[in-house]
């Protein structure tokens, strides 16, 4: 299935969870925050939250700013 990840279309296996997506990307879950369809997915739900085709996923982190 396809999801929109940080603005780009990406193919992921059917039923991919947020936790699985982060693992696949090699991203440390502790250092990022995740939003699916404009709603935050809290860390305790990464394992349970399965993505659906067409989901808009945002993975963000802190960067330098004022």
């Amino acid at each position: 299935m396809q999801v929109k990840l940080n603005g780009e279309i990406r193919e992921v296996p059917e039923g991919t969870t947020v936790a699985a997506l982060l693992a696949q990307l090699g991203v440390k879950a502790q250092r990022v925050a995740v939003e699916v369809n404009e709603a935050v997915v809290t860390k305790d739900r990464y394992d349970a939250h399965a993505l659906r085709g067409g989901d808009a996923v945002e993975i963000v982190a802190f960067v330098g700013g004022g």
């Binding site: 990840l5 990307l25 990022v32 939003e35 963000v60 982190a61 802190f62 960067v63 700013g65 004022g66």
Partner: protein, 257 residues
């Protein structure tokens, strides 16, 4: 007694808050943060660059014990700012947010309508909201009424280094609201920071003035000293300005009189 100040449930001693943007390198940033003596540092929330690993490493360079203040910089609508604030909270697991809703790309002046709107929503969600706002007392009052923990009027446009352009409005804001007033943005050099504190600001927030100085670490130290000096001068109470001289040495007992 220690001269402390508070934001919601947080209490601080340092009255200088600093940003983490625009540094040439993380090591320089880290040394500048330490030299500034700041207890609060601002950070931005951005899409993770998935093309490179370690893109999320900023936090490793922020000294332990510093309180993170996530911002909503570059958000142009209340909705974007609200979403960004929620993501920032999820990243930081704290309640502080520097709320920015920008209305104009060239000046980065706030969209005060969107700002007040976003502030109301975030306050209801339990955030300690610190809004970056215009030097407008009416807006400052609306933000206070919305439940913001402080108001942060600009001294001048972000990154401009123009200093405190409207000291009178800042004073009126300080008279108008009961929440802490922090001057955020516009500081160019140490005297600007001292002036902000002499006017009665509870604290000063800056980024560019330090990060883009020729010697950021030395400038961070200068800002730390200037903020402390301005605060002490405010507490000490300056003399009134007079048009004519008032001699410091006795005018009597002169030889040959």
């Amino acid at each position: 007694m220690a001269d402390t100040w508070s934001l919601g449930k947080h209490t601080f001693t340092s009255r200088l808050l600093v940003g983490t943007g625009k540094y040439e390198s993380f090591p320089t940033m880290q040394r500048a943060l330490i030299a500034s003596g700041a207890e609060v540092v601002t950070v931005a929330v951005r899409r993770l660059d998935l093309s490179k690993t370690g893109a999320e490493s900023l936090l490793e360079w922020i000294p332990k014990g510093m309180t993170l203040l996530p911002n909503t910089a570059a958000c142009f609508t209340a909705d974007e700012a609200i979403r960004t604030a929620r993501l920032g909270r999820e990243l930081e697991m704290g309640d502080l947010v520097k709320l920015e809703v920008i209305g104009d790309k060239r000046t980065l002046f706030p969209d005060v309508e969107g700002l007040v709107q976003a502030a109301r929503v975030l306050v209801k969600e339990g955030f300690t909201v610190l809004p970056y706002t215009n030097d407008d007392p009416v807006t400052a009052k609306k933000l206070e009424d919305a439940g913001c923990a402080a108001v942060m009027p600009l001294g001048a446009p972000i990154g401009s280094g123009l200093g405190i352009r409207n000291p009178y409005n800042l004073r009126i804001i300080m008279e108008t609201v009961k929440v802490p007033v922090l001057v955020d943005a516009g500081v160019g050099t140490a005297s600007d920071a001292a002036l902000a504190m002499e006017l009665g600001a509870v604290a000063v927030l800056m980024n560019t003035a330090i990060a883009e100085a020729k010697e950021p670490v030395l400038m961070a130290e200068a800002m730390r000293d200037a903020v402390a000096a301005g605060r002490k001068a405010l507490l000490a109470g300056r003399i009134p300005m007079k048009l004519h001289a008032s001699a410091s040495s006795p005018m009597t007992g002169l030889i040959g009189s």
